[in-house]
Symmetry: C2
Subunit: 312 residues, 2 copies
């Protein structure tokens, strides 16, 4: 049983109440607490030593990553992050300077995005450092973008370049908050997700939630320089395209909107964000399944992204 | 450096924004998101295998405890819990039935208190199970009770009986949500906290936040039966009173209100909660410090509660 299967099993019959607009299964939970025009976004995400970072990572980078992952989920729903709580699991013997530097990394990012850090707790996790961040955000009800809204005929877009994040980006990425809000403000985006487990996996989340399929254009997938050289070093070696499709932790935005809006979007994007690539990488289809158009024609895409753990 | 010192250092200069009413340093963060009459309560709390539970605990009990601890913090501010997210750190090989039973324990408690479980995540924590729960609640602005409102002349009250929670109560306690809301509704409570680290430690939190002192009456401290027999088994043995003062995880309510309201409260409480003991255990003093009145007179209370970890 992998992570996705386990989560499906655990979330089958969760208790709900009248405040729940979206429960488990999207980038954030969406809650109606009685504000006239806005919903709350509620998210938690954890990073673990030896899993999401290793001893080569600077503590400031670890803190940055822990908060940035949550911010990226709020971005995926076109929201604005507001308040964070931090749970710090620490071995019984720890270096206070190391822990303070983790906090420094979080604080810098929080200040940049107007996020208040409102407390949390420290807890003994004897074998390794674990940081879990809980985040509250807000989103205008009319602008909240879910995974489940993709329609046949939509064009599929992705920001940035994909793959090879382990070479460094995963510790330093800036969550695409401004870009996501700009998208929601200016275009009728049908569905959105942030790329955490790899394009192939995360696009499948949109397809499953929206009950549609997709065709990707292999030539259109933006491949990062890091993906090109990490792919060769992988064992077994991957092609750079495979790396771009399956490497985790890109933290770019993947979204869809009606095909006829594709060209106006690309034009407007170039003016708004001249330094960030935006690529149209395929289209949403009525027929379920994920296919890719390569030099040898259209064939099913069988690769998957990062799978967090396997059951015994 | 112990947990309290570390937290003091980490929370010295946290980023804030206009939504923050109470940040780090109370049972929950208190946030103003623009609701006319209510504030949001925001809390996170984690339990770790080998620290907060061992392999003798049933998985349903582990799940119950993980959520109940957070609910107890919302109770301590007289709030109503609303939505929870669950972060589950799991070894790479795990028994899905065990994990489902943890969820079952949480679900039962959530349903009983009207709490929606709105998602969360699973993450690899290779060496042990860790469960972090994030909770959102609501509290009427006029009824929110903080740690910092204790005044000289207040009577100090505690619900239930203290000590010996490790004998079983820590896995099965019911958070005092109804009792706390009743208190806030019917009496002008000045300060409140839930007992997690032991009476001596948690009362010091109120004293420090409120910049006051306290005198306890040793004979008035309600000692549980479990404290009486666990105290003898402790190495080095404690007196039952020491156990009641220092054992962690009672999850009872500790609160203060003006001394002249003490008798009316005790009368009303007996009618409202005939099955739950309420004890007046001392008074708040202008002079800082925590003292205890025993058979040999008034002397400083030097014992402390549970300290989570020590720095190298």
């Amino acid at each position: 049983m992998n992570e996705l299967e386990l989560i499906a099993r655990l979330t089958r019959s969760l208790p709900a109440n009248e405040s729940v607009i979206v429960g488990a299964g999207d980038d954030c939970a969406v809650l109606d607490f009685g504000l006239p025009d806005r919903w709350l976004l509620f998210k938690t995400d954890a990073v673990v030593e030896g899993v999401h970072f290793d001893q080569k990572a600077a503590p400031e980078q670890i803190g940055h990553k822990a908060l940035a992952r949550c911010l990226s989920d709020v971005a995926a729903m076109a929201g604005t992050p507001s308040c964070a709580l931090v749970t710090l699991g620490l071995p019984r013997r720890f270096d206070p300077g190391f822990v303070e530097a983790i906090y420094d990394g979080m604080k810098k990012l929080a200040v940049r995005h107007g996020v208040a850090m409102v407390g949390g707790e420290t807890v003994a996790n004897p074998d390794r450092v674990l940081i879990s961040v809980s985040l509250l955000g807000l989103v205008p009800k009319q602008k909240c973008i879910r995974r489940s809204g993709a329609l046949a005929g939509d064009a599929i877009f992705v920001t940035g370049q994909l793959g090879g994040s382990l070479a460094g980006k995963h510790l330093e990425f800036e969550p695409r908050l401004a870009e996501a809000r700009w998208l929601a403000e200016h275009f009728p985006i049908h569905s959105m997700i942030d790329l955490s487990d790899g394009l192939a996996s995360d696009l499948r989340q949109i397809l499953q939630s929206s009950q549609v399929g997709a065709e990707l254009l292999s030539e259109a997938v933006p491949i990062s320089r890091a993906a090109r050289w990490l792919a060769r070093a992988a064992a077994p070696a991957k092609t750079p395209l495979q790396a771009a499709l399956t490497d985790g932790e890109d933290f770019e935005l993947l979204f869809t909107l009606a095909g006829k809006k594709a060209v106006p979007l690309l034009d407007a994007w170039k003016k708004a964000f001249p330094d960030l690539q935006l690529s149209c990488i395929g289209k949403i289809t009525q027929k379920p399944g994920l296919k890719i158009q390569g030099k040898k024609g259209l064939h099913p895409l069988t690769v998957h992204g990062y799978v967090h753990f396997q059951e015994s």
